[in-house]
Symmetry: C2
Subunit: 339 residues, 2 copies
């Protein structure tokens, strides 16, 4: 086991000072050709690599980005991470991922852990519990310390920071409109509780589309489920007691599960009933029939988030200007809707 070699080791071996070694390795003009060559050769030979921790302590920059998200077994968040990773790595940053598992406490603990020097900034999406409580003090503390934060998808207006979202209302509007255009009138919405920022926006888009087309809004056709678990029974019951000819769901799972239920009832998708989901993941692509969805462009969202964060991290200026980037959702037409 050959331990890591340090500047001090090189200095001792070559009988020069640590400063000389440091400068020589950086090709400083201060150091003579001879010495530089000697030092660099020695460093290469023993595979010297500077210690990141020491450098971090010195310049108070870690080159780490903290990502705090509610879950990872969701295709959407997975793609966002991928986008963050992609941009961050290309710019010399590592990504530290922490899962809040939709829990407020875990979110707070994770942030506190990371905020004590481990990271240069946060990219995060709020846990459902946090949005429910409406308690954002942990975010406030972090931003007050001068640590940049980028919120994506599940955001809040209570915190001044950069934000990236897709236009959820527009997405739901487009989807609903599409269903209406195809002659559907009894359009159901399967969503989660309104305290989730995205669900709220999507519900608004749904309502707006119906109103604009003078379709009556039947409240009993709106099903609100928990973010945490799939309540299969309530979905079953919903379809048992409601007559619908189209369904808009706020995620993949709700959609795919609902499709199976109505198929078991003998209904044909998309002829008897149409489906549109959110998130363009594998579930949607490989479902039977394949799913028409509102694509959220998670990877792009991740890239933009990382870019905004790194820009802030690397900008000297203290100017406190925050922007909110709104991405356009895209309707990906497949076989769960007509044509």
């Amino acid at each position: 086991m050959k331990a890591k070699i340090t500047l001090k080791d090189i200095a001792r071996e070559l009988e020069v000072s640590i400063s000389t070694v440091s400068k020589a390795l950086k090709n400083s003009e201060e150091i003579s050709r001879d010495t530089k060559e000697k030092v660099q050769a020695f460093a290469k030979l023993y595979n010297y690599k500077p210690n990141n921790i020491a450098i971090s302590l010195k310049n108070k920059r870690t080159k780490n980005i903290g990502v705090v998200i509610p879950a990872i077994v969701h295709h959407f968040f997975t793609t966002v991470i991928r986008g963050i990773e992609k941009y961050a790595n290309a710019h010399g940053y590592n990504v530290i991922v922490c899962l809040s598992e939709e829990s407020f406490d875990k979110e707070v603990i994770n942030m506190e852990m990371l905020a004590n020097g481990s990271i240069d900034g946060f990219i995060m999406s709020l846990s459902s519990e946090t949005q429910q409580k409406g308690d954002y003090n942990h975010l406030k503390e972090v931003t007050e310390q001068g640590i940049p934060v980028v919120l994506f998808d599940r955001i809040t207006n209570e915190i001044d920071c950069d934000k990236v979202v897709i236009d959820d209302q527009l997405g739901a509007y487009m989807a609903t409109k599409k269903l209406i255009d195809q002659g559907r009138r009894k359009i159901a919405l399967i969503t989660t509780d309104d305290y989730l920022s995205v669900s709220k926006a999507r519900t608004q888009g749904y309502r707006k589309a119906l109103q604009e087309s003078d379709v009556d809004i039947n409240e009993s056709r709106i099903l609100k489920l928990s973010t945490m678990e799939m309540d299969e029974e309530r979905i079953q019951q919903f379809f048992d007691t409601n007559e619908v000819d189209a369904v808009l769901c706020v995620n993949e799972i709700f959609t795919v599960y609902s499709m199976r239920l109505v198929q078991e009832k003998g209904l044909d998708i998309p002829n008897d009933i149409s489906f549109i989901g959110f998130t363009d993941g594998k579930l949607s692509r490989y479902a039977n029939p394949s799913l028409t969805v509102v694509a959220q462009h998670g990877e792009k969202m991740g890239e933009i988030s990382a870019q905004m964060l790194i820009d802030k991290v690397e900008s000297e200026e203290e100017e406190e200007s925050f922007q909110t980037k709104i991405l356009e959702p895209t309707l990906v037409i497949r076989n769960s809707t007509i044509n």
Copy 2:
């Protein structure tokens, strides 16, 4: 913006030395009741939190775990990360995730980045390109530096370190046996190239089951695809030119896509043709029909990996003893097989 407060700040403010503050906060017996209370109260008031970087530099431990995996948009890897996160967080560790994207170079770069002090140990699954090249020097270097490594799923025997795998051969064997027991004789295998350790083992299990039951092995019923992309055409062609009554696939995507193909041909699953896949993910659960799979227990695998790594990291002893943990796969019976 209130900047982070340091020991030095507290010391200056309270007119004591830094050492006194440090000891007082650790409740050292050396310090008087009075001073301790004063210091602790002040620290609480100004929300003092020690700087992780400084501590890392001092004790040469970062409390970070580096995870290097080929991809994240695979349910299996996602669940492993979740398991690692769970165990690691519960033990005060953060998880730094790096994606190799199946690229050898990316894998090497990521490891080098992290090895320079950022992490205490690695948990990783090899990229397909690495397994293809058979070049494990980056792993060797890291282990020689004394950094603990745990390999999971995609492993190699060339490196001495802890390993966690499921018994892939057994998994494929069980699945194939199941199909044979149901009277299937023309069983296809859709897998990836043999250089992937897991694919090789699974192919062996498949062959073993057929041999034991005296079923002829028809090499044309074995389809080897690339790890990177879904070659839809080759799958289509495969089913056009082969007559099969059962299919074993090494991942979810291959299975689900294949099922759709044969369904479009008018075949009934599971009566005309049975399917078994690997990985018990959402795709399998919500496919139509739901998929019988060999469950890989990714989350458990992650937890065990994290446990093995943290044990090594925290053990003083230099004893070089490595173990390989082999998990038993489970056959989850659903509706893509009879009964």
